[in-house]
């Protein structure tokens, strides 16, 4: 099994990739140098291309060799065992029938000593006869190379090449004549076949006996200098000289080698040469006892207390009545008093006329009144109605006099809003300020809600004529007041009525890009007056009405008859502001004197 290094899945031996996650598996076999295929360890030849995997110099030893017969030279057998083909089995059976074991083939007999009668040709099976033709016949004795010996007549000079004439004949080898010479060769034709191994008697060359019986020749001088007999332990090799630095490692004779101890326990049992357990190695040098020998008195006291608690009998505790946390009566009273004071401050001016405040002042509102007063008649004015019912109590008093002033100036009012409730809020105020309702279609076009925030504003400024009147459902292009108004470029003035700072910023930014030359004025709530002032100072706003005070100033300038209402509102709000200021001071004094509560 090969375990995947990524997911740990067990894969079959020889797998290249993990079956679970597809990660490449580490190669554990041998890679073929020819085709690159991976082969299992122990293969001698590649399973794919049959190339040799292990170099010839590194042929495994005899006991590790597979039992299969080694293939003939030049042919590599795959390591995967192949099933015997059917035709080969039939052929083998036929051969066994035709060539029983007692009838040896005739061709090996030729390798035996000459003189024996050869086996009749008919006894050789046909397949064996074909094989016999492929097996090279034993070389004739005359062709066996013989060493040049002394006494042998030198062949005629005409048969010896010229370069060999000067070569001195090798010295004769002194050899004892043997009655039984060693076998020349053993032939193993095929495993499984009838035993064909035959010990071939020595083949004597013609005239060799005469040569062997000849007295030894004289040994040349160069051979006499050689040692008479090589040391048997080195197999005829001369021992090399051991270097100086290797001599201490040389085993000494007579010194007994101490056998290393073998581990007998644990998972290392059976291994030799392990480090012995030495003193100081098996436990840390600064080992401290985990617990003190004597428990501390405090720990003993706690343990005794715990033991005493545990040994007590169980007693069901009486059901405790869960009482609500006492309300903070002071806090409730505070809120009640604040509410009563504010209500009284707001309602009192409506019941009793209180001459507490003088006439309001708002220079910006007066400047705006002058600007609108110079507006030419029948000028299209785009009004961004950016407030809803929540802010209408204040913003209606801001926008009312301005709208009425524009109507008096015969301006054509084109209303849009980015707030969904804006068109309805606009319609309510416009209806109250329009003197003659029949003139609405001639004076007012409510183009409704603009979705998309800044994108909606930008789109509307460029395409005012393409919108639809919200109240009548008519296309703006069919309205009389929109006949010459197609975009912001055709508008004479823009009025922004905003209660939130973002609405004011959005409109100012988009108008400054679409048509920076158009005059822009604003009516804003008191809350965003501070944010609007920088635009007024920078000239982006030509005029501004801020809050109820600004509306009252504009109303007074316009003299519409709504002055009494503004007086009520201003007095109520002034009283509420005074009440809040007084409460702030009283609260500060109370908590400064009484201390801080957490």
């Amino acid at each position: 099994m090969i375990y995947c290094p990524k997911c740990g899945t067990a894969n079959r031996q020889g797998s290249k990739f993990c079956n679970e996650c597809g990660a490449p598996l580490p190669a554990t076999g041998l890679r073929c140098p020819m085709c690159g295929a991976m082969n299992p360890a122990g293969n001698l030849y590649c399973d794919r291309c049959s190339a040799r995997l292990i170099p010839a110099e590194r042929v495994p030893p005899e006991e590790e060799k597979p039992e299969r017969p080694s293939p003939p030279k030049g042919i590599s057998l795959p390591s995967v065992p192949l099933g015997e083909e059917e035709w080969l089995s039939e052929l083998r059976a036929e051969a066994l029938d035709l060539a029983p074991e007692e009838e040896a083939p005739g061709w090996p007999g030729e390798l035996e000593a000459p003189g024996e009668p050869p086996t009749p040709e008919a006894a050789i099976p046909e397949w064996l006869a074909e094989l016999e033709e492929t097996v090279p016949e034993a070389p004739p004795p005359a062709e066996k190379p013989t060493p040049p010996l002394a006494g042998i007549p030198v062949p005629p000079s005409g048969e010896i090449p010229e370069w060999l004439r000067d070569v001195e004949f090798a010295p004769p080898i002194q050899e004892e004549p043997s009655a039984q010479p060693p076998p020349v060769a053993e032939v193993d034709v095929h495993a499984g076949m009838p035993s064909a191994s035959t010990t071939v008697p020595p083949i004597l060359i013609e005239g060799e006996e005469e040569i062997l019986s000849t007295a030894p020749a004289e040994i040349p001088d160069w051979l006499k200098e050689a040692p008479a007999e090589a040391p048997p332990e080195y197999g005829g090799l001369v021992p090399a000289e051991i270097p100086e630095w290797l001599r201490p490692l040389q085993p000494r004779e007579g010194v007994a080698v101490e056998e290393e101890p073998t581990e007998t326990e644990g998972f290392l049992s059976g291994l030799r040469g392990l480090l012995p357990i030495g003193k100081g190695l098996d436990m840390p040098a600064t080992a401290q006892p985990l617990l003190p020998r004597a428990p501390r008195p405090a720990a003993v006291a706690r343990a005794e207390l715990l033991q005493g608690l545990l040994s007590r009998p169980l007693i069901t505790p009486p059901t405790a009545e869960i009482r609500e946390a006492p309300r903070q009566s002071g806090w409730v009273l505070t809120r009640f008093l604040v509410g009563v004071i504010l209500l009284a401050a707001i309602l009192l001016p409506m019941l009793v006329r209180l001459p507490l405040f003088g006439p309001p002042t708002a220079p910006t509102a007066e400047a705006l009144f002058a600007t609108v007063n110079h507006l030419p008649g029948n000028t299209p004015v785009l009004i961004a109605w950016e407030y809803g019912p929540a802010e209408s109590d204040e913003m209606d008093r801001v926008a009312g006099p301005l709208i009425e002033h524009l109507l008096r100036r015969e301006a054509r009012l084109i209303v849009v809003s980015t707030r969904m409730e804006g068109p309805a809020a606009a319609e309510a105020l416009l209806a109250s300020r329009l003197v003659d309702p029949s003139e609405r279609s001639r004076r007012i076009a409510n183009l409704g809600y603009l979705p998309g925030q800044a994108a909606g504003v930008r789109e509307a400024l460029g395409n005012l004529g393409g919108r639809t009147e919200a109240m009548t459902g008519l296309p703006a292009s069919q309205l009389d007041i929109m006949a010459d108004v197609h975009s912001i470029a055709d508008v004479g003035m823009v009025v922004i009525l905003a209660a939130q700072p973002d609405d004011l910023k959005t409109w100012l930014e988009q108008i400054s890009v679409a048509n920076p030359n158009v005059p822009v004025v604003a009516g804003v709530s008191a809350r965003i007056e501070l944010i609007s002032t920088p635009y007024l100072a920078a000239g982006q706003l030509r005029g501004m009405v801020a809050g109820l005070t600004g509306g009252a100033v504009y109303e007074r300038q316009l003299d519409t008859g709504w002055g009494r209402e503004y007086e009520y509102y201003l007095t109520s709000i002034g009283m509420a502001q005074l009440a809040i200021a007084a409460l702030t001071v009283i609260g500060a004094l109370i908590f400064l004197v009484g201390g801080r509560k957490r």
């Binding site: 809803g388 929540a390 459902g473 501070l530 005070t549 009440a579 609260g587 908590f591 801080r596």
Partner: protein
């Protein structure tokens, strides 16, 4: 595939659209301006459909909450939302029924919103009363003094206290408060510019998860 749909595609559309609109404003080339206007028109249409989607999503969420304890408020929300929708659609389809929508807006929505907005004054009054209950720091004292100056300076009080307070309020509004407000506006402008650049470069992707 998931990465393509959730990140690469929305980012490519947002960055490409933003660059086209920006180039339409920067380069005075008619084709770019027309492409810019068309893309803005698409954005408005998508925003309108987003409102419709949000309306039905609100109904879906509160219909689930209506079955739980305390779901009476969800029931009220669903009823009022459906009433507003029906009356508005009726006014659009049948012009003679427009008075119903006007009545609903004038006598239901406006008083309710004004009442809720009016509670802000009461909450602010209580908060002003308890301003020094928990914190007594220099910043709180400065805020307290500024609030008193602005509250009293706005009132048309009789002279000479009224004039002195009005002048003090005017100075306060025009010098320290204006300086702070301009700083805020510049900071907001730089922040908007930076956010726009981050969206254009794909560093911020508010349109994808």
């Amino acid at each position: 595939m998931d990465r393509l749909v959730k990140r690469i595609l929305p980012t490519s559309i947002a960055v490409g659209t933003g660059l086209l609109v920006l180039l339409g404003y920067l380069l005075p080339v008619p084709p770019l301006a027309s492409v810019r206007d068309e893309l803005i028109r698409w954005a408005v249409i998508i925003a309108a459909f987003a409102f419709i989607l949000g309306f039905f999503n609100l109904l879906r969420v509160h219909s689930g909450r209506a079955r739980k304890p305390g779901g009476i408020y969800s029931v009220i929300l669903i009823l009022t939302a459906m009433t507003s929708l029906v009356l508005t659609l009726a006014a659009l389809l049948i012009p003679s029924l427009r008075f119903l929508g006007d009545w609903w807006f004038r006598y239901v929505l406006s008083p309710l919103q004004a009442t809720v907005a009016g509670l802000i004054a009461f909450v602010l009054a209580v908060a002003a009363f308890r301003l020094l209950r928990h914190r007594r720091e220099a910043g709180v004292l400065v805020f307290l003094v500024a609030a008193l100056v602005v509250l009293l300076g706005t009132l048309p009080l009789p002279a000479p206290a009224g004039n002195w307070l009005a002048n003090l309020r005017t100075w306060w509004m025009n010098v320290p408060a204006m300086a702070g407000m301009r700083g805020l506006l510049i900071g907001v402008g730089l922040g908007v510019l930076l956010v726009g650049l981050r969206v254009l470069t794909g560093s911020d992707r508010p349109y994808s998860d």
